[in-house]
Symmetry: C2
Subunit: 348 residues, 2 copies
Amino acid sequence: MKEKIKISIDLMGGDNAPDKTISGINLFLKRNKNINDCFFYLFGDENIVKKKIEDSNYLNDNYKLIDTKIIVTNELSALSALKKGKGSSMWESISSQNSINADVTLSAGNTGVLLVMSKLILKTMEGIGKPALAGLWPSNDGSNIVLDLGANVECNDKNLVDFSEMGSALHKSLFPEKKAKVALLNIGSEELKGTETLKNAYTKLKILDGLGDFKFNGYIEGNQITSSDSNVIVTDGFTGNVALKTAEGVANFLTKNLKKSLSENIFSKLSILFSYFSLKKFKDKLDPRKYNGAIFLGLNGPVVKSHGGIDALGFSYSIELSYKIAKGNLINIIKNNLENIKKINEKG
Amino acid sequence: MKEKIKISIDLMGGDNAPDKTISGINLFLKRNKNINDCFFYLFGDENIVKKKIEDSNYLNDNYKLIDTKIIVTNELSALSALKKGKGSSMWESISSQNSINADVTLSAGNTGVLLVMSKLILKTMEGIGKPALAGLWPSNDGSNIVLDLGANVECNDKNLVDFSEMGSALHKSLFPEKKAKVALLNIGSEELKGTETLKNAYTKLKILDGLGDFKFNGYIEGNQITSSDSNVIVTDGFTGNVALKTAEGVANFLTKNLKKSLSENIFSKLSILFSYFSLKKFKDKLDPRKYNGAIFLGLNGPVVKSHGGIDALGFSYSIELSYKIAKGNLINIIKNNLENIKKINEKG
């Protein structure tokens, strides 16, 4: 029998949990009827979730429910969550990678707590200085990977090189048919621009270009994050987070203004009738829910963070992401990449 | 007789100069027939520009042409431009603030060279550590000011406080009817988040809140840059430049995808007929050309940088911006703000 992909899900994290998380699992299974090698470890309070799960149309013999009574709420600081959070649905869903060989953990709970708990339980991978949060951005020909999105406010050049290796491993696990093309986010494409940290990372990545598992494209500016010339965009967590939030803000601002314009008179309202399917396709293609899920990279096991405020459909896409990176052997690819760097460093 | 606002324009900078710059002046004058207190010092090669200016419909007795033979090209580094650039249209248009009392300088030429020349000729204002580039962003109720957009890759807390003072002075000169509301761009709105530099700037701005000429709103995230809650967004030049370019990229990406969707079939094409005026209004309102012009703040005179690649219409809006900040007494307001800080520091 084929080995199953074992996904551990924290049912209790995020807004409207556990309704959202359980509906999300159903939506994922409904959309992916061809996937038959998926098994869920579900963590939550049996009294609350059992009935909902049994009522589900798609969860049958493909799950195991693990009863956890403690819930990590959004109000807790990382420190108090660590004190009180042992045995919580979040804690146990991470620990299951050690105790019952789960392949990946997914939670929509408090980001800070999830990062700290994951680091404590799964430990940082040997050779990695700082773990990082990576996300998917829509691009001209599919999706680009951007990291770090906020795990590390300050980074050195070694961190940025690690992020390049981990980001291209993530790319390989998700899109094995495409070559990873790494670029450093900067404020100009000339070699002279940017901080010392960026210049040092540039020099190191130039050496790895071609030797490692990725092509190095040098610097890009913010307006090229959605381009298809590069598909792994590397930056520190402060800049990455500002870029991500700015992009969200601009997208919301534009669509809000567009909607307003299209509903201002009878002609424009009529036009929506004619363009309904085209506009729907436009909206569907760029629906942020499809890009839901940030991957915490650099630990000995993969952890996926779903947006806390997202709905069931958005949550279902973060399950898809979790399935893909586990199926794509993310952790092994990262380890291989790091071995490569080590060999190159030893030689050079 | 009322004192004229004297605008010095480098006719030779940017793509398609001097055609673009001269057409831009005409467009500005055509659009603003009510403005009758505007006088232009125009700098460029007489052999090239004289005929074009004389053919102009709107430039009559409201200008003086100053013949300059040297042109600062985009290929020059700042250093070689300084060596070769004395007497150029760019150099002379800046110097005119000292020699013939011009109120403001506008150029679409090489940004780096313009910044270095301006600093050298106009000198940094007493009390300011680093000058900064400020720009206008469309917001929910008009325009927000964002700075620094790239003049300073690294900034300390004093720089960020200076930027807050200068940004709110710029706000006052452009929108005297509204109160400036300053916010620091960060990766979370909680006081605990961000770099040490940001935390120190936060503490200092909290003290100035209410005492100075602005309200201090604390931290905001990238998705609030277009909100109307704050209207002066302060950040270092690296982050500001990445945010600006990312916003441009996302806006282009979305409009390109929208156009594609709306032209994919006969129904959606038909819909464009019905929504033509609404879509045009949408496009007009958010036309990036209307937001053209970055203001170099912190020198003893105002310098405006137009986008080099923008067309005549875009250039005409940077003339409007130059006129407004000179008319609004930007430099005096900045000086007053700095006096205020000085007094507060002396007292406290």
